[in-house]
């Protein structure tokens, strides 16, 4: 059991990424003992938790946008996020929509619960998992896989649009050019979903972890002078390591 935990993909990916990141820090001459505490403080201390939650909501929303569970991948997240944001802003001009001050977090948590239930307890969830595991087998078993893939991708786009709408209708209640795509919600979500192997119960955890990293990176920039883009490097490394490790393990399992 211990061996399984130690060798599990998230542990290897996060461990490997942290190791390489520490190496980057040392190479550019920053003391990791200064940088990492600054990162944690930047994410959770002194009212920063508010920013972390504000980033957690759209990132989790974007995580719903990636139907990896159905074996599909959605690389158009940034575009869908912007489309949702601009639609919400336009609609708010026509029909005065109320600012969604506090419903963002409860809404995505509720959606995560629904997703978790649907995944494990409904026919649709079963068909999605079957298609993700083995498309041909699912087709053979009577699942209309093409239609399901289309539904999964369109639904994913819908969630991305919802995330965009939540950002625009949340504080400061306006559409800011670049505010939707610049924080990199889409790629953070991609890394989180891969890290969780798209398991609904695990995705919120990995999203929270990577959001802390993302928001904390800005604290690290303020305190230790390390460019916050370091967190993008970490995410990129995590994605590559997960991809490699999952394949190697999969091959070992079949051999």
């Amino acid at each position: 059991m211990i061996r399984r935990v130690v060798l599990s993909t998230p542990v290897v990916a996060i461990g490997g990424a942290l190791l390489l990141t520490t190496l980057v820090l040392v190479v550019v001459g920053v003391d990791p003992a200064v940088a990492y505490p600054a990162l944690i403080r930047g994410a959770v201390a002194d009212g920063n938790l508010e920013y972390t939650i504000a980033a957690f909501v759209p990132t989790l929303g974007m995580a719903f946008a990636i139907p990896l569970r159905a074996g599909q991948f959605n690389l158009g997240g940034d575009g869908q996020l912007s489309a949702g944001g601009i639609a919400a802003a336009a609609l708010a001009l026509l029909v005065p929509l109320p600012p969604v001050l506090a419903i963002g977090l409860p809404l995505v948590v509720l959606l995560a619960g629904i997703w978790w239930y649907a995944d494990g307890r409904t026919v649709l969830g079963y068909e999605i998992r079957a298609t993700g595991h083995n498309r041909e087998f699912a087709r053979y078993g009577g699942v209309r896989v093409d239609r399901l893939a289309a539904i999964a991708l369109a639904g994913g786009g819908g969630f991305a649009g919802l995330a965009g709408g939540l950002i625009v209708l949340g504080p400061p209640y306006r559409f800011v050019d670049g505010a939707l795509t610049a924080p990199g919600y889409t790629f953070t979500a991609v890394a989180a979903v891969l890290l969780a192997a798209a398991r609904p119960a695990v995705v919120p955890v990995t999203v929270a972890l990577l959001t802390v990293l993302q928001v904390g990176g800005q604290g690290m920039e303020r305190e230790a002078g390390v460019p916050s883009q370091l967190t993008q490097i970490v995410q990129g490394l995590i994605i590559v390591i997960v991809a490699v490790f999952a394949t190697v393990r999969g091959r070992r399992a079949t051999e």
Binding site: F187, I233, A243, T247
Partner: protein, 295 residues
């Protein structure tokens, strides 16, 4: 010759060159059976390293060589992950592209001391052909080189023994291995060559089209290159029109901006046109082969 027309033509060719070079890299990977959609990240890395080396040495040609070398090195990660360990090519591409985005933005702040856009008098841009003594104004030397490389690749893949082997590895790995070929070595090779081509593409973008580096300056050209490879049906001869489509759209958008079109619409035009062309081509291909296209 009408100067206006020529400046439009050179605008088209200059906009085409980086996409064409990156797409050529994607094409040879595809021929050998490696799905390389990390071109965007490789292109951005090439542009950044070209600017860094050119800035340090004061020589644009050193920048080009530096970009080629650095991007081949960077492609080693892609080659290890997707060829040696056979990881999912889409996931690896996302990781590599994100890594390139992060690394370039991070190193930019470390090396040049600021983010956003970097340019400096120390930064040497590529000369134009006119400055090299040829009677062709405006165009840089990597633009005709791109066309030559496309022709050379078509010849190499279609007419030589090594080209045949690369195609064999792509069409049927097991059969190629049974014939004594080391399929893995060929696949590592094409990924690294694609890295070199993306290094050239990045150098053309950052030292030819303009003389500066700015964050995310590849701006989706690598993804357009992936689309061009698909549009071409993996034939080098068809790669040129596919990339020219993007170049024309970018140059026309630039022109229309002068005629009062908002900049954002001009920026979006090449991508919209390429997307529409891809959908139309896919529909046409499916109509031609209704049996095959049913997945």
């Amino acid at each position: 010759m009408n100067l206006l027309e020529f400046s439009f033509l050179s605008g088209v060719l200059t906009a085409t060159a980086p996409v064409l070079l990156a797409a050529l890299g994607g094409l040879i990977c595809q021929v050998a059976g490696v799905f390389n959609i990390a071109l965007e990240g490789q292109l951005l890395w090439g542009a950044f390293t070209a600017v860094v080396v050119s800035d340090l040495t004061g020589s644009a040609w050193a920048g080009v060589l530096g970009a080629v070398a650095a991007t081949v090195l960077f492609s080693g990660l892609l080659s290890a992950a997707s060829v040696a360990w056979r990881a999912d090519p889409i996931v690896v591409a996302v990781g590599v592209t994100l890594l390139a985005l992060g690394l370039t933005a991070f190193l930019m702040r470390q090396i040049f001391g600021s983010g956003g856009t970097y340019t400096s008098p120390d930064l040497a841009g590529l000369p134009t052909l006119a400055e090299l003594g040829l009677d062709v104004p405006v165009l840089g030397p990597l633009v005709p080189l791109a066309a030559v490389l496309v022709a050379a690749t078509a010849w190499r893949l279609g007419r030589t023994r090594s080209g045949l082997r690369v195609r064999g590895v792509g069409q049927h790995r097991e059969a190629a291995e049974a014939a004594g070929l080391r399929a893995g070595a060929y696949r590592h090779g094409v990924v690294l060559v694609a890295g070199a081509l993306c290094g050239l593409a990045g150098a053309q973008l950052a030292l030819g089209n303009v003389t500066l580096f700015s964050e995310c300056m590849s701006a989706g050209r690598g993804w357009i290159a992936v689309v061009a490879v698909m549009l071409s049906g993996v034939l080098p001869g068809r790669l040129l029109p596919a990339c020219l489509l993007f170049g024309v759209a970018e140059a026309v958008g630039f022109r229309l901006q002068g005629a009062g079109l908002p900049q954002q619409a001009a920026d979006a035009a090449p991508y919209v046109i390429t997307l529409v062309a891809l959908v139309l081509a896919a529909v046409a291909a499916r109509r031609r082969a209704p049996e095959k296209g049913s997945t």
